[in-house]
Symmetry: C2
Subunit: 133 residues, 2 copies
């Protein structure tokens, strides 16, 4: 429950695609080599980015991936939520989790909520475009 390689790699792949944009499709093998990331590992992360319209995929020779949005309109927060599942810094805040019995009179919960808010705002205010400068 914080940022693992899934989210970090996804960001780096998307940035790499943006930076090597050439109108066509870029094979993942090239990206993996440049980014020094296990090809097989990110292969499994890509489909979720396809399904959500961040990239288009093409099979076969000359195929690969192509960024489908402008980097400036890809928020880092959205990408991380997609790949990580949650950005919550403590399990108390995950909706999936059963509610804590102490919730009502927990002296620390407000602090976690504030932190959570801060982190969300942080990531939502950054785009892929910002990271390329």
């Amino acid at each position: 429950m914080m940022i693992s390689t899934r989210g970090r790699y996804a960001l780096r792949v998307l940035i790499d695609l943006a930076e090597h944009e050439n109108g066509g499709y870029i094979p993942l093998r090239d990206v993996a080599k440049r980014q020094q990331i296990s090809l097989k590992y990110i292969e499994r992360i890509m489909p979720v980015l396809v399904k959500n319209g961040y990239v288009a995929a093409l099979h076969g020779k000359g195929g690969g991936y192509r960024l489908e949005k402008k980097p400036e309109s890809c928020s880092v927060g959205d990408i991380l939520r997609l790949t990580e599942g949650t950005l919550a810094p403590v399990s108390c805040l995950e909706c999936s989790q059963p509610a804590c019995p102490m919730q009502e009179n927990c002296r620390t919960l407000p602090m976690w909520k504030k932190l959570d808010e801060m982190i969300k705002n942080f990531f939502d205010s950054i785009t892929l475009g910002d990271l390329m400068k």
Copy 2:
């Protein structure tokens, strides 16, 4: 690598000790019951708080723990660093970890550093006293 029960429980125990302060020692059993935390589990977290001067411990009947500092001078950041080991939101920033080969030209690293700084500042500016209000 983010805030687990170790750090969260530690904070709650310290606050509980502060709120039930009576000049004497408070047995952990009472705290555990009030906070609905496994006694055996926090028993193992307490020694580090003793060694670092946050609480004093006394064995035997009438023993227990007593807060040794004013809540206002206990920073949440320090307590979490003590119990969690690190507050870094990504493994790239942990000193224990081997340096990432891409460090020099990683487009995302500056973002992680900024987040890390933000989180540190957040926790370092809160004290136990703040949480008791």
